[in-house]
């Protein structure tokens, strides 16, 4: 009887061997991990599509909003701190990537409490990042009145002198050079583009008023950071589910070194990786 069972098992084993019989793992990675890699590759294609649209449109415009001017607000009413807030956001996401690595490492040595603790840290990091992004969007939409189709951030192409002030930073008689940025303010639902006189170049002496910046900026910014934010959001949801599963001891029973944590880890690092490039094209260049 016992030998019969043995031979059955042996038969099943030999049947599953060989590259085309499902016995070996292609690329020595489990099905789930391999498919996660290919999902991430396909996701990279989607993000690249967005970044290609952004790059082509940005460089086809005569002017583009200067990131150091657009992204210079900080919570607590602090202004003119270029790139400070997005740097904080970047560090939050990097830190959450590190806590994710720690969770995977604890998983490899089957330490349930360690996995749950570091996954919770990662979830907190993800939520903090989402909170920061919500604040950034709120500032742009509510205070600076940027929408997907209206971009109040403009850049001067000529030197000139303002003929009126805006009650914020610009006073009557202030001068500006080509390349200087401005924000058109909105009072009681009315746009208030400032009038100025050109002082140099072929239009010298002409009176003009501030023009809106390239329309595509708002749409590109909200769609790309929004799509990334949605990835962070769904990442947090999956992290929560897997954290609860880990805490319930589900992965202890699977005895595969918490592979599920490793898979969600791959996804989480990918989200961080995409942010590296969003940070590059929107804020640094």
């Amino acid at each position: 009887m016992a030998t019969e069972v043995m031979s059955h098992e042996h038969q099943a084993e030999t049947q599953n061997q060989g590259a085309w019989k499902g016995g070996t793992e292609p690329f020595k990675a489990s099905y789930g991990k391999l498919m996660m890699w290919y999902f991430l590759l396909s996701d990279a294609f989607t993000f690249s599509g967005f970044l290609i649209a952004y790059g082509a449109l940005r460089f086809s415009m005569p002017t583009w909003p200067v990131p150091d001017f657009v992204f210079s607000a900080f919570p607590g009413g602090i202004h003119h701190k270029p790139l400070l807030f997005v740097t904080v956001m970047t560090f939050i996401l990097l830190a959450s990537s590190f806590t994710m690595v720690r969770a995977v490492q604890e998983g490899h040595r089957e330490n349930k409490n360690g996995v749950v603790f570091w996954m919770l840290m990662t979830i907190i990091g993800g939520l903090m990042f989402l909170g920061c992004q919500a604040w950034e969007w709120t500032t742009l939409i509510k205070e600076e009145h940027m929408t997907v189709s209206v971009n109040p951030f403009g850049t001067h192409t000529e030197a000139g002198v303002y003929l009126m002030g805006d009650g914020h930073d610009i006073k009557e008689g202030d001068t500006f050079k080509p390349g200087d940025s401005y924000l058109i303010h909105k009072h009681d639902g009315e746009w208030m583009p400032l009038k100025y006189r050109v002082t140099e170049g072929e239009h010298a002496g002409m009176e003009k008023q501030q023009a809106f910046g390239p329309k595509a900026f708002g749409a590109l910014f909200f769609f790309i950071t929004g799509f990334h934010g949605f990835h962070v959001f769904s990442g947090v949801l999956f992290l929560l589910i897997i954290c609860v599963n880990a805490a319930s001891g589900l992965y202890v029973r699977r005895k595969n070194g918490y592979e599920m944590v490793e898979k969600i880890g791959l996804y989480w690092h990918f989200v961080d990786l995409v942010w590296v490039f969003v940070f590059l094209v929107f804020y640094l260049l």
Binding site: R58, D68, F91, L280, L284
Partner: protein
């Protein structure tokens, strides 16, 4: 994984996050320096800052993929199937930025040509006008 002991992999992770943090701070400071925010009147050409930023971002991407995502420990076949298409994508992004620059130049050229054409004597009549006339 499984190639490193728990303690060793912990050290690698700490070192990697340190390098990533330092690169990020350097990138931000370099971007601000290049645009003249740190030293009054001091600018660096956009081509140089752009090149440095893209290179450093690719270094960051390498560290995340190889150290955090453990690509280092995968077999060459998997590495190639994932990374070769990604490299083509990076090339596509850079190529389309160049293409956008060309659109910009062409747009200025078309605008200048149009201004010149408006100054030139206007041709009398047009093909469409003649067709409409014959229809009447």
């Amino acid at each position: 994984m499984g190639h490193l002991s728990y303690e060793a992999s912990k050290r690698v992770a700490t070192k990697t996050i340190g390098i990533l943090a330092v690169i990020t701070i350097f990138e931000v400071l370099f971007a601000l320096l290049g645009k003249g925010y740190l030293v009054e009147g001091f600018h660096i050409s956009g081509w140089i800052t752009g090149f440095v930023m893209i290179t450093l971002s690719l270094v960051k991407a390498y560290l995340i993929v190889y150290e955090f995502m453990h690509m280092k420990y995968e077999v060459p076949g998997l590495v190639r199937t994932v990374l070769l298409p990604t490299l083509l994508l990076v090339w596509a992004i850079i190529a389309f930025m160049m293409e956008g620059k060309y659109w910009n130049v062409s747009r200025v050229r078309v605008k200048n040509d149009t201004v010149k054409a408006e100054d030139a004597p206007k041709p009398q009549g047009s093909l469409i006008y003649n067709i409409n006339e014959s229809n009447l």
